[in-house]
């Protein structure tokens, strides 16, 4: 069994202990420490695994055992596959998970003890699920992990279950992703039918047309999990969960599972040209729509949620270029700086006890460390030259340009300017300006919350310089060079930062207001469109089907029951119970048989 297996088994042990032995779970902090220790251990092991892993192209380290066996034939295996893709993703997942768990020790410290134990049990389960997904040797295990992270998402969004909105958001997340998973399941079944297995490489298609269809069906699932327009509606609502959960699941890792699936199954997607073009457009439109929506939100977590959505669109558009390195590298850097931003937002919320940016302001002096760390995240996301987001965005846009997809490229360049604009808006509204009443009572978060943020800030800042070795690991040459596209993105980014600061930091540029658009975007047009689909489309159909079921199907069933009862009631009267009546009937029968025999004989 490879070393990487421990990254699953340790959290699994922690989850099992916390799940089964409820007295331990109810101790609260010790339970939290148990879970956190396994998470940190997983991170250390993942680093060791990454250190030793061979670059892409070398045969992967495989450890499997038969799972589904039918008639002596192994249908699917379960186990671990350690190669460059899984090892790098494993580090991202475990690093963010470990940081978030340490951070939660401070952020969730006011929770009741049993709730804290429950929270950490689910966090452990999440690492198990996510590592199982990442290390999956075949698509079936990947989908099993996929479903498990979905379950963790549901449980953790609904952590404050006493709040009706949290429960609704949890259910909504399940509904939307499940709807998209219909496509994933169909793709999985089709893959098995066509190739007789669940592998993503190492076979040839008997029917070449099916390969693109499989990829397209799998991509439907990706659209749900990675919140692509129009299936992104669950992600902003998922912010009902605790902020560290948003950082881990709904920013860094779980929502990136969709993008990871595309990277993992790259041999399936690589040749699907039509699908790749569609992916570029869907990703670009998602990036644009979500960025516009993020610009008008007043809730700090909602801004970050839409920003996540937008960046996931970036990744999908990057993968649509036909090269996977840019999308995957952006996933990696995004995981770090977006987790950092969410933890920063959590630190702010922890300080002022509000999500509304209107109630914040001037926090830079009150909580300077959080402000500094948040600024690193902001500038990394904005693509400020030198920070990680700059390199990954540059690489991604370069690939899109190389793929010749000019429409998506133009949209992505515009979003490259819009992203710094709305992030600057957040920074100005929260940290600059006049302190609000709530800001005056703010206190800096404890070290247990700041330390993980500082740890995340390191890769968020400097990971970009690792782009070359990252590309080497994945078998792609990459050297940073100044190109027209990269320059345009950088200019757009700086322009966005400048405009954002001018508007929200200095109160200039009143003409930049678009009240009509803002009101329209805030009203949630896509949510409303779904609601309309439901009310006008699904509900009438459901009503008619319901009518048919109640009156026709149930009617037939009830009629057969009624006729049986009625007939029984009538026929019962023939049974008098008197032996003589039966004898009469027997004699009559004998006479009838005799008559029939005679008549039959005469006729014959």
């Amino acid at each position: 069994m490879p070393l990487a297996a421990l990254t699953i088994l340790l959290p699994l042990a922690s989850f099992a202990i916390l799940a089964v032995f409820w007295p331990i779970r109810h101790t609260g902090r010790p339970a939290a420490w148990l879970s956190t220790l396994t998470a940190v251990a997983s991170f250390v092991i993942a680093l060791l695994v990454l250190r030793d892993v061979a670059p892409m192209g070398a045969p992967p380290e495989l450890w499997t055992m038969p799972w589904l066996v039918h008639g002596g034939r192994v249908i699917a295996e379960v186990g671990f596959r350690v190669d460059a893709v899984s090892a790098s993703m494993l580090v991202v997942v475990t690093c963010v998970a470990a940081c978030v768990q340490v951070y939660s020790l401070g952020y969730m410290s006011h929770e009741p003890k049993p709730a804290l134990g429950r929270y950490y049990a689910w966090h452990s389960l999440f690492i198990v699920a996510m590592a199982g997904l990442v290390l999956a040797p075949n698509l079936l295990q990947l989908v099993a992990g996929w479903e498990l992270v979905g379950l963790c998402s549901y449980l953790l969004i609904g952590f404050y279950w006493a709040k009706p909105s949290a429960g609704k958001a949890a259910v909504k997340a399940v509904w939307v992703t499940r709807f998209a998973d219909i496509g994933l399941m169909c793709g999985l079944v089709l893959l098995y039918v066509e190739t007789g297995g669940f592998a993503w490489e190492g076979f040839s298609w008997a029917n070449p047309g099916a390969s693109e269809l499989v990829a397209a069906l799998l991509f439907l699932g990706v659209m749900g999990k990675s919140a692509q327009v129009p299936l992104h509606v669950w992600l902003p609502d998922a912010m009902e969960g605790p902020t560290p959960v948003s950082a881990l699941l709904h920013a860094a890792t779980m929502v990136a599972a969709g993008v990871f699936l595309v990277v993992r199954c790259w041999p399936l997607f690589e040749g699907a040209e039509t699908l790749l073009v569609a992916m570029s457009w869907i990703g670009a439109i998602t990036a644009l729509v979500a960025a516009i929506t993020a610009s008008v939100q007043t809730d700090i977590k909602k801004v970050l949620a839409y920003s996540t959505c937008s960046q996931l669109g970036y990744m999908v558009a990057g993968l649509g270029s036909g090269e996977m390195l840019g999308g995957y590298f952006h996933l990696t850097t995004h995981a770090f700086f977006k987790a950092l931003l969410f933890l920063g937002a959590g630190s702010v919320i922890h300080a002022v006890h509000s999500n509304e940016m209107g109630e914040m302001g001037g926090l830079r002096k009150k909580i300077p460390l959080t402000a500094a760390l948040f600024a690193i995240g902001t500038f990394a996301l904005a693509g400020f030259p030198g920070l990680s987001g700059f390199f990954s965005k540059d690489l991604l846009l370069e690939e899109v340009a190389h793929g010749g997809q000019w429409g998506p490229l133009a949209i992505l360049l515009f979003v490259a300017g819009l992203t710094p604009f709305y992030m600057m808006r957040v920074y100005c509204l929260v940290f600059l300006g006049e302190p609000s009443e709530k800001s005056n009572h703010a206190h800096e978060s404890p070290l247990v919350m700041l330390a993980p943020m500082a740890l995340l800030a390191i890769p968020a800042a400097v990971l970009g310089f690792g782009a070359g070795s990252f590309g080497e690991l994945l078998g792609h040459e990459y050297h940073f060079a100044v190109t027209p596209v990269g320059a345009a993105a950088t200019v757009a980014g700086l322009l966005g930062l400048g405009l954002g600061y001018a508007k929200f930091g200095m109160g200039q540029l009143a003409s930049l207001e678009l009240p009509g658009l803002a009101a329209f975007v805030r009203s949630g047009p896509i949510d409303n469109a779904w609601r309309l689909c439901w009310e006008r489309g699904l509900l009438p159909v459901a009503r008619n089907v319901g009518w048919f079921d109640r009156y026709v199907v149930d009617g037939l069933v009830n009629f057969s029951g009624w006729i049986t009862l009625e007939a029984g009631d009538r026929i019962r009267r023939l049974q008098t119970g008197s032996a003589h009546d039966y004898l009469y009937a027997a004699a009559l029968g004998a006479v009838l048989i005799a008559v029939a025999g005679v008549v039959g004989g005469v006729l014959a």
Binding site: Q575, T576, G577, S578, A579, H580, L583, Y584, A587
Partner: protein
């Protein structure tokens, strides 16, 4: 060979069977019903003996003897039932036995 022919025996048997059937259907008293059933059974025995006598197969007479023995056994059971019925119902009228209906 003198005496009545096969037809005469068969007519006798048919008449006895018809009388027995009539008795079973018309009499209300269980004892009379049992006697009528005996008549019907003996009508069948007459047929067996008659066919045997007129050369179909000699074993018919043996079969008639067996049938007689069985009839006796049946009557024993029947009479025992009649006694039980008279004890539990206090009457021997077949019309009063409607327990099957309930």
């Amino acid at each position: 060979m003198t005496g009545p022919g096969l037809d005469a025996y068969l007519f006798l048997a048919a008449a006895m069977f018809a009388i027995g059937l009539f008795g079973v259907l018309s009499r209300r008293n269980l004892l009379a019903v049992i006697v009528s059933v005996e008549l019907m059974a003996n009508a069948a025995n007459i047929n067996l003996v008659a066919f045997s006598r007129f050369g179909v197969h000699p074993w018919g007479q043996a079969l008639a003897l067996f049938a007689l023995a069985l009839t006796v056994a049946e009557v024993v059971v029947g009479l025992a039932l009649v006694i039980l019925v008279s004890r539990t119902h206090g009457s021997l009228l077949a019309g009063s036995l409607r327990d099957l209906k309930e």
